[in-house]
Symmetry: D3
């Protein structure tokens, strides 16, 4: 497989109170790195695809540490640019039982949010790239980031690069004066693969429709380049117990995953990114195997609930084992 | 609200083996502070009430550390007195699944157990106080502590202070030669609000009655000052899975909470104190809202199973969210 | 009770990634010691039996540390011999939910695997011993270890010592060129008590039979010295949720345990060894009480899922409490 | 003593790599709180003075946690205001031997840096205050913070409050377009006590003078309200070994401390704040005892090198023991 | 060597704030066990002597854990008795540089302090014992413990057992109404080997003499059974830097060790016990080698400053390497 | 600079007892990776050179983790081959003061020790390489590894690649029946740069000479390809305090570094590898600057004593700061 994927987005520091402590209680924080698109890149690298990551980080110990952690997991970070003053971060309180997890963002004024036109040489970074992935978080953080995303999409289109987007709506971002419906539709026009859920599609595109078939059909109508739309459905029984399933819509058909009952959740964050990566992996691995793709992506997301941190560190064979019904967790010796 | 609540009782060191280790296995102990009445004070402070705490601690690093931890959570410790030689403590082994938790008390001869008459100037500490809270643990630890409790109750009565008591029966205390039935009835006569369970009411007052309506009615008959009795009902499925519900009895009516199914229990200790605090908060916040009160108290106890340590650190809005059915633990961003 | 039990087998270092981290993520490893037969010895010592352990460890800090940890838990290690160059070890990744645990063996060339004839003076180590326990792991690790096992069994037989064996099949061992069916039958001929499961009995003895009564009867026919066969049945719902039950077969009867639903598994490893130890304890404690024995052994295995590490650290009264239905895990004060 | 001191400045999160790890290596960060003026407040509270702290923090878990940690150490935080979006923070790499410590600031756009006129009601917060303390860090972080400082000083002057300032020059701050010489002289005009060093006095006031007597005399000439100037002298042998001494200048005299040889430094940060607090404590405790004051402040700074974190947690008697020559660190039982 | 040594004294829990934190700062405590005589037993076991330990502990998880830790290090605990309610404990704050370490005792009412006459069967525990060791701490904790000590000494004398005592004066004990000079002289009359320092000899026996030769001679005069007196001399430069040397006095001669410069002290506690054990080991290993004995004991104490916790875990060859001048700490591969 | 360096050698797991605990005491081990040549590669990558690493690791979680950690620090691991069954490892006890550190090797039978002819395609891995680095450890571990080294050197010579060797004598290796003097001379014939010390030169080549000038001259005579020999001189005052200096010998001249006094050593391992990397970096960076080279290499080794773990993580500017005399460790803000 000669695909080469570039994921573009913000790298974040995740500072988690350990052992389900609340932030008020803790005296140490686990230091990890994340970012919806970085997570996708890491997952793809575990699937043995050539995964590249593009972001802007400050030229200091924290910026370099973040890129190092991506390289550890086989992501190529050579395209990254240095600039700006800070890595965005969030404090994380891990819920349990009836207590919800909390993400306390402190990501304003980050290096990527303050990226300047020209800092990224799109011609160079897209060289050899066959797939470009971005998410709805980037245009949410600042006008500059939204502009950079558009620039990227235009450059990618010129090079006939396949484009995927995870809609990823975060209401607490979008603070720079624009509503997502003013920004996202234009950006989505460039995309071939879209992942989202019904609420976000309503928020971004004003498509208010509970019937999935109709929803997909209206979305396809709005975005002629779109080839696949995947919708994920999560039910929260409580913080450590969710259910999860997904549907992949092509212009002609619908493919449904089984529904997983996910108990003893170790870490809920990043599971949507594992889904996204699973889909990218599976769709380009074998053609015409949409059913495999939605099954693989759903199993990847499910299994990623067992990994501490946002990165997906699971291998294809481990995910396929779950797909094939090996849900029992027997000790492997 | 101009209420000012004083909680009186023993401050304890809790030394827990981390990560569900047994005491025999562990090489470090988590250091926390607790005490039924201290826990109530902390919870009330989180509910933005003016919470004061009165105890006697040794004038050393451990005593000062304990008071400091209460101040951290906004409890006023200015009334506390220094004296005696040791803070009581217990070693704690956190159970899981079918293995029960163990509390290994080492609290004899503590500063409060050996309090001397006159060490506390009740006139001064009760100044401005509108509500006095104590529990059945204090008269259980020593004759001196039982005497101090009586002294307190008499002084509080003179000042028309509302009085609440959590019956809190601990069979492994009461080692100084008295049976609770010789001590508790006299002390309860001063109380307006009582929290307990059917077994303890039998042990303390000899009221053996499984019908709650009859039980409440007999208890009201025995204690003419009593206005409210709350009874809590816990079922232990296993160490990490309980159910919990409660009933509030007034002289004229009964109010029942829903029953919560509490899974993935992080820390079972202190949850009864969260209930007690929830009741104190809710009963004085809005009059004639007993149903809200029992619902709030039960939700507070339920949610507190998710907090490591005995202190309740949850806010009113978080508890109300659970009351309103937000049990799903979705990530808050 | 004047029984004195000798357990013979390999002592291993267990290096576990803490907190359900994967090995790729972790930067520290919990250091513990294990070994199927060492675990049995530790469990027997907790049951207040005289438990002796025999192995061969290198004469260095790690070898001495391992024996020290056994002594801590009251196992007599005076028979152990020093020799060879390394303690076998395994890296351990603790699964959760749908993610299986992984044991990554690095135990080749260990001190016991390379034991030499004559290093153990069987006459001396068996002095005063009334019961000898071994498992199918030892003959799996090397020809030398298989030879030593045979030597031990012959010496034990001469002294009329009762012999038990846990079949313990590990497919990833047996790398020295022999199939278990070439080695195990000869060794089992010496045994009085056998613990296993249907698959292993097929692998070792070629007895392919799903009907337990017939399976037991055929096994008894093959091995005239055998008095008891216990079969265990585990179902893996997921990594943190199993069911477990067992059957004890005598030559004339069958005794079945109840089936336990084991949730919130803290550590699955070593639970079979707790079963084995429970059986040894119960069978020699009181005669003609096979039902007690299978109940006790099953409860011991069940409860051991709540102990971190492979050692069983539970006492007889704690296991009996579970047998008697105290499954609720209420706090013990 | 009826003094009541208000310290005004920015509260910061300190995120330290533990055990002398570099930031690139660490996977957890110790979470502590600091701020030059907060540190002074904590130290004063340990000296049993009435210490109040004023800052602006975001109304979230981190802001509340920070204030809680100050209350733990007996600082009154009732004057604090909530506002803005983030607590400033810095990552900290603890040097050792020849490797210097590194402070990586990420404090731009903090709640205090973006304080708005009117957010603080100076009349109210200064009520009952007898001493006001600030430092050169506050006017360095933003124009808004510099403005607030001026407002504070004017209000304090109106109320005849004694004013102290620690010059605290941080070259990497002052990024909003002003040089300290444009801001600091006007603010210092209100001060009665000044702590600094020769370099900073040059940078702020253009007084370039190595002779301390002349330097003090010129500074007194420039600022007629000034009563005391203290100068500290640190020599860095290496990261874990410094020397430290100080001089207190009055308008008529000079008082010199002994020079301490400080080895095995545990934590160098915050030691200057301990000096500042020591001086405030000693100068108002007993009049006309400048020698005691400079000795106490120097000993406080010295001893604070042994406390992890920036807060000074030592008591008057511990500092006085060092002053009196008890440098040997014998075990106290 | 057929010697068998019995060490008698109190087993204590040591709860240390990790990483030089103060008790006020810490949120976990390292759990270790200690006791002057237990430490001697552990050290002797490392020297491959047969070391037995006698104490009284409560029959609970903490008591059993304590004995387990001694067995781990090869001490025989079979003589120990169970009884009483609590293990004594102390909180420990590890000093550094100019900050002294602090021991905060909480050991009153311990199982050994409340030992009853007859609880120990001296005839049985002294069977086969050739050397009995005790220290001045035991008679300091209670009259009952002092009585038990006397009983032991009388029984040991009847059996011609060699007796050693470490004077170990702790001013903060001796709270039961007796001054050591009322108790110790009678007990020392039974001893053959004494370890102490000049101040303690003054306190216990009223021998006020700075000339060591005269001091030894007067002490020998007072106690006719005494054969050897060892005096240790420690200078505290600061908490992490001491010097240490010792003198061994026989009735006819004096033997002086070299003086060690001990830097980078990891843990100062228990080093005197390592000295005591070194002396016991060396004096009975080879006769007429007093110079070896004092050199070995001093080197043992010196090297034990590098071991965390109070137990001495060093081997004879490691101590001898230091004696022979290998002070450089070169990596051993 | 277009240099591209390949370092070839064994990757090891380092398992260290934390906080200066002994192995007998510890219950967790810090997991790190090392290897003399891997350390050189990491250091070179920090100096912004293109550093490649070649080893053979098992295709499992531990092998992949090890390579990941190298990638984190910018080392290219694409040449590495998978094979064999185990990563070599060592347990590490960190000394302090007079207690030496201990390395307990468990590296026999490792993947590299059992490498097979043909597993590495030397033509491919040397493509584009300008410098090849190896050390005396590789031929010490097995005949197969020695053979592979020779193969590598021959292939490198054919390609005119510059070759460096760190003599790195480990007496406890060399267990396969050869003395280094039978193996090393042949291998060194290919080298241009050699780092060692006088003892090792004697052991390997039989050159017994204390005069450095004569020693260098004789070594140059024996190995005509050699251009530079560097000799390092370490004095161990104690485990935490060494001195370090070095000399660089060319065929015509001698260049001496200053001698550093290294106190408060955090981690002594890997410092020789930092020296080696410093030399490689400096010698190819600027020609004819031998004095800079020996100064830089010595400063790199010195500063690396402050980094936990064997990897050198310091940057050129940090090392140059030390070279220029900035030894004071002042806080960098």
């Amino acid at each position: 497989m000669n695909s080469k994927i570039l994921c573009f987005g913000e790298l974040l520091v995740r500072l988690s109170a350990p052992n389900h402590l609340t932030l008020q209680q803790t005296h140490s924080l686990d230091l990890q790195f994340t970012g919806a698109e970085a997570n996708v890149a890491v997952a793809l690298a575990q699937f043995n695809l050539s995964a590249n990551y593009l972001t802007c980080v400050p030229d200091n110990e924290m910026g370099r540490m973040g890129l190092g952690m991506l390289r550890k997991y086989k992501v190529d970070t050579d395209s990254c640019v240095f600039g700006g003053e800070r890595l965005g971060l969030f404090y994380f309180e891990m819920g349990i039982g009836h207590r919800p997890s909390k993400v306390l963002y402190d990501r304003s004024y980050s290096s990527l949010a303050m990226i300047e036109k020209g800092q990224i040489d799109w011609g160079k970074v897209l060289e050899g790239i066959t797939w470009f992935h971005w998410s709805g978080i980037t245009p949410a953080i600042s006008q500059a980031a939204a502009d950079a995303t558009l620039e990227a999409l235009q450059a990618a289109k010129e090079r006939n690069i396949t484009i995927s987007c995870d809609l990823n709506y975060r209401a607490s971002l979008w603070k720079y004066g624009k509503h997502p419906s003013q920004i996202m539709p234009e950006l989505i026009r460039y995309c071939h693969l879209l992942v989202g859920d019904t609420e976000t599609i309503d928020t971004y595109f004003g498509i208010k429709e509970m019937n999935i078939h109709l929803l997909a059909s209206q979305t396809f109508d709005s975005f002629p380049n779109l080839q696949n739309i995947a919708l994920t459905f999560r039910k929260s029984i409580h913080a450590s117990h969710n259910t999860y399933r997904a549907t992949l819509c092509t212009r002609s058909n619908f493919f449904e995953s089984k529904e997983y009952d996910i108990v003893d959740i170790l870490d809920r964050l990043g599971t949507g990114d594992a889904f996204m990566a699973g889909l990218i992996y599976a769709l380009q691995k074998i053609e015409n195997t949409e059913q495999y793709a939605i099954d693989f992506a759903t199993a990847a997301a499910t299994l990623n609930h067992t990994i501490y941190g946002d990165f997906n560190l699971l291998k294809v064979n481990e995910i396929e084992a779950l797909m094939q019904g090996n849900t029992g967790g027997r000790v492997i010796r």
